[in-house]
Amino acid sequence: MSALTFTLKFKPTQRVDLSPLVSQNLSGLSLDEISALTLQSGKLKLRVDDLFTIVGSDAQDIVINNSVDNLDFIGKDLEGGSITINGNAGAYLAFGLKSGEIKVSGNVGLYAACEMKKGYLEISGNAGDFLGAALPGNKMGMKGGTILVKGNVGERAGDHMRRGNILIEGNAGDYCGSRMTAGTIAVMGQTGRYLGYAMRRGTLLLWNQPKLSASFNDCGAHTLAFLPILFASFKTLNSRFADASIAFNRVQRYAGDMSEMGRGEVLVKL
């Protein structure tokens, strides 16, 4: 079976909700049935074949070609299989992802992997604000799985994050790891202001010294036994994180945010 491939015919003027195009919805449907599914775009309902040329049959292997930044909710609540996005993706990519993997060759918008539960998201470009975060008003962001970003991420990455890994090869914006409850965010590049703002627990693993708020306390230099195990778990990734030479276990440990519970930690490579 060949991949079920959606090739965008033109860039829509309005944003489009692509949430119906996930494996659990498309399995067992013929191309005609898939073509007749409707997608919300502003006030309009568009047929899938109004926007896309569709070929292939394997709903467990979905490909979206010529993707652009106003295609939202790609891979929403995906349960198994894979989605490969050639191009950019809009907001709410991998929203509530349950299992399976999503790969994007370009950049993605706001709230990627928002409230993601499990699975794997790989973004080759940059990600917008609120990566792996919770919806406004909700208390639990990402609950599991792994996000890999090869570029930079915006502000509030991992806001209210509960579990899982966010791996960022580039830089992170302000408020990275804000209000984290647990989980791990690793940033190879630079981090912005208010790192770990109001974080309760969780780990921010950094390659470069951040500018820390006064509510983070220095716990000294340490060799931590869990770091080699954490780095070993990245071995299979298509990433610089998989390179054994970048691994380290010697860190400066800062505890915070002391204005909150204060059980979180910022670990900076020594």
């Binding site: 579990r163 647990a182 791990t184 627990r201 780990t203 340490h222 060799t223 931590l224 036994a225 869990f226 080699p228 195990i229 954490l230 070993a232 778990s233 059980r263 930690e265």
Partner: protein, 298 residues
């Protein structure tokens, strides 16, 4: 059956179903991993009074351990899952958590999950940190030398305890030398432990006693000093008997360990004072696993 002048009795070892687990202890170097492992498996020779049977299975190369440090694999066997879990947790808390530079990991991926460091985390008094990596939960417990890293659970699986054979020799030094040779070979076999001191037991027991409070007592039929005063199982030239007890994960593992052990004893042969190999059983009525010596050595 006679091998190199050593007579192999037409008898069998009788063994019992047990529950087993394995844990991996790592440390800054092999010396400290071994110290911790020895502490954890100390006073674990027999379920009769120790609550479990445990021993070091083997030394692990750093490439075989989860954190890439030198390590030691230990196995613990008990009659039931509840008892096993209690022994494991108590020993981990008192012997590994306390041991400098140590870390503790699961040695069995499958099976029923039982707590390894899951409850030890409370020693961290709220400063403990959980990390879930590749589907496994770890606890980082702050301690005075840094952090104690432990996996939350390990696997409990069905196993077999009580495989054994007896070495009957013309003298005590000859019996011990033969047992040492056997243990050296048996320790190369995976999935088995020999839980007694140095792998050898000199006080084999029988079921029951003349004293009501005791469930087991000395195996007088194999005590050489009693040859003239009890229904002995020893011929006049036998002056010393020693036993090797084997616990293993499967019948095949114990078969293999018994075979290499008995072979090592027989290689010394009659020329070195080894006269007979026998085994301990209870008439075949108590334990469902029977290890027939002649079948194993055939």
């Amino acid at each position: 059956m006679i091998i190199n002048g050593v007579s192999i009795d037409a008898t069998f070892a009788e063994a019992f179903p047990m529950k087993a687990t394995r844990a991996i202890i790592t440390a800054q170097n092999e010396k400290w991993a071994m110290i911790s492992a020895q502490a954890m498996t100390g006073f674990a020779t027999s379920v009769i009074a120790c609550g479990c049977e445990g021993a070091i299975e083997r030394v692990l190369d750093p490439s075989e351990t989860p954190d890439g440090r030198p390590g030691v694999a230990i196995m613990i066997f008990a009659m039931g899952g509840k008892g096993l879990a209690k022994q494991l947790e108590t020993r981990a808390g008192q012997c590994v958590l306390t041991s400098p530079t140590s870390a503790l990991f699961s040695g069995i991926d499958g099976g029923i999950r039982i707590p390894l460091g899951k409850n030890l985390r409370y020693f961290g008094d709220g400063f403990q940190v959980s990390k879930q990596i590749s589907g496994k939960r770890y606890w980082r417990i702050p301690v005075m030398d840094g952090e104690f890293l432990t996996e939350a659970t390990t696997g409990q699986i069905d196993a077999i305890g009580g495989g054994n054979f007896l070495v009957l020799a013309e003298s005590q030094p000859q019996a011990l030398a033969a047992c040492e040779a056997a243990i050296e070979e048996m320790r190369k076999i995976p999935n088995v432990i020999m839980p007694f001191p140095g792998g050898v037991v000199r006080s084999g027991s029988k079921v029951g006693s003349k004293y009501k409070s005791l469930g087991a007592s000395t195996n007088d039929a194999f005590c050489p000093t009693l040859k003239g005063m009890t229904k002995t199982d020893l011929s006049p030239e036998i002056e010393s008997v020693m036993e090797i007890v084997i616990d293993g994960l499967t019948k095949e593992d114990i078969d293999k360990a018994m075979r290499v052990g008995i072979q090592a004893v027989c290689d010394l042969g009659a020329a070195n004072g080894i006269k007979r190999i026998s085994a301990g059983n209870y008439g075949g009525k108590l334990g469902p696993f029977h290890f027939h010596l002649q079948e194993i050595m055939a």
